[in-house]
């Protein structure tokens, strides 16, 4: 128990160091929300249409930005070697790492997402759903992204390799969440999409740690 909470504390503080924290996430969204209209042109209705989707894609990319180094540092400096010598299974270690990452990065980003959507002109009605999707989606991103990060351990090409491994895994939550948001803005029933998103999140929570632990063991040996 104590080991678990120590690990969780360490991971959140490292993840915070890897770029979490409320100020930084708000800044990140502000940057993205600024770039997007500038790049696509400022027509308000066009913007409003893509706003939730854009906030959503930005979330996925922010998850990628911070995931990259989830395991790599611990692998390079030998911490992963030492973590094996404990009665906690490696699966649990991986899960806690992802959770810490999500608490320090995903959650603040999810809290900032409705603001970004609002700034881009989304209807206020959908903001709670934007938060819900961002929170659940962020969790799925963290666990799915962790798989990519673990797989690219020790590979000559980390970085965007993680991105390439992970982006396909990010597609389903984006479809489900984007669909739910789109339905809600058009007054259609949205619960199905959101339920699918939650189901995907649950699957990520269940399967991610197994895959991550297997990948880590493989890299260590």
């Amino acid at each position: 128990m104590s080991a678990l909470s120590a690990l969780f504390g360490r991971e959140t503080s490292l993840a915070w160091g890897r770029g979490g924290g409320p100020l930084v996430s708000v800044g990140f969204y502000a940057g993205v929300a600024t770039l997007l209209p500038l790049a696509t042109g400022p027509e308000p209705d066009r913007l409003a249409a893509i706003a939730p989707g854009a906030a959503w894609v930005a979330l996925a990319l922010a998850a990628l930005l911070s995931l990259d180094r989830l395991f790599e540092r611990d692998f390079e400096d030998g911490a992963l070697d030492l973590m094996v010598h404990s009665s906690l299974p490696l699966e649990l270690v991986c899960a806690i790492k992802c959770l810490g990452q999500w608490v320090a990065t995903g959650l603040p980003l999810a809290l900032a997402a409705p603001l970004a959507a609002l700034a881009l002109g989304a209807q206020p009605l959908i903001l709670p759903l934007v938060f819900g999707c961002a929170a659940v989606g962020g969790l799925a991103f963290a666990f799915m992204g962790g798989i990519g990060a673990a797989l690219s351990l020790g590979a000559r090409r980390g970085g965007l390799l993680t991105a390439v491994i992970v982006l396909p895994l990010f597609v389903p939550p984006v479809i489900f969440g984007g669909g739910a948001l789109d339905s809600l803005s058009n007054g259609l029933p949205w619960t199905a999409g959101f339920a699918l998103l939650c189901a995907y999140g649950a699957a990520a929570l269940a399967l991610g740690p197994l895959a991550m632990a297997a990948a880590c063991r493989n890299a260590l040996s």
């Binding site: 104590s2 080991a3 909470s5 120590a6 690990l7 504390g9 360490r10 503080s13 490292l14 160091g17 540092r73 611990d74 390079e76 400096d77 030998g78 911490a79 992963l80 070697d81 030492l82 973590m83 094996v84 010598h85 404990s86 009665s87 260590l220 040996s221």
Partner: protein, 201 residues
């Protein structure tokens, strides 16, 4: 929690297609220390990692007295390797307390081990600011914070100064007196009487 011995039988290790050694035999009993020697690249580090379960041996068996190997690795050994697993951006206190709790000790034990390795004055410093010897002491402090019978040490003395080599020798002797076992890879003789084992000669 007690470990009665470490036994390597007919052990062979292969790294990247090259056979490092084979037919290695070792029978280490509680209270004994083995000084593992061999030229650079002979396979000392690889052997320690095999005992720690991080490398699969090519042949032979590794047994830990009457303990189940998985269990022994989970709760009865410490590995201090070339790489120390410390995060340079965190403080000495943060790292020491984290690792102590990870290995099942509590905060008080962590601070106590810091005091025994004279790290108390450095607790607030970032790890990246430590000198090489101070950093090694931090890595070794984990051994004392969460007591476990088998110590696997990879060149534990190298960045320590003369006075700390003796003091760490005393700490090893104390550990052995309490029924511990030590397998240490070294290039210089240990400051305490030890059994020699040379590999790849």
């Amino acid at each position: 929690m007690m470990m009665t011995g470490l036994k390597l039988q007919n052990l062979g290790l292969r790294r990247g297609g090259r056979l490092l050694f084979s037919g290695l035999e070792l029978d280490l009993k509680a209270g004994q220390v083995v000084a593992l020697t061999g030229r650079n690249g002979a396979g000392k580090t690889s052997l320690l990692r095999a005992v720690a379960g991080l490398v699969q041996p090519e042949a032979g068996t590794i047994s830990f007295g009457d303990l189940d190997p998985d269990e022994a690795r989970a709760s009865s050994l410490h590995l201090v390797g070339h790489q120390d697993g410390l995060k340079t951006s965190r403080t000495v206190a943060e790292e020491l307390i984290f690792w102590s709790r990870w290995f099942g000790a509590d905060r008080a034990q962590a601070l106590d081990s810091a005091a025994r390795l004279d790290l108390t004055g450095l607790l607030g410093l970032e790890v990246r600011r430590l000198s090489a010897g101070q950093r090694k002491r931090l890595a070794l402090a984990r051994l004392l914070a969460a007591p476990r019978p088998l110590w696997l040490l990879d060149e534990p003395l190298s960045p320590l100064d003369a006075s700390w080599r003796t003091r760490f020798g005393d700490l090893m002797a104390e550990h052995l007196a309490g029924g511990g076992l030590i397998l240490a890879a070294v290039h210089d003789p240990l400051p305490i009487p030890s059994i020699g084992l040379e590999i790849g000669a």
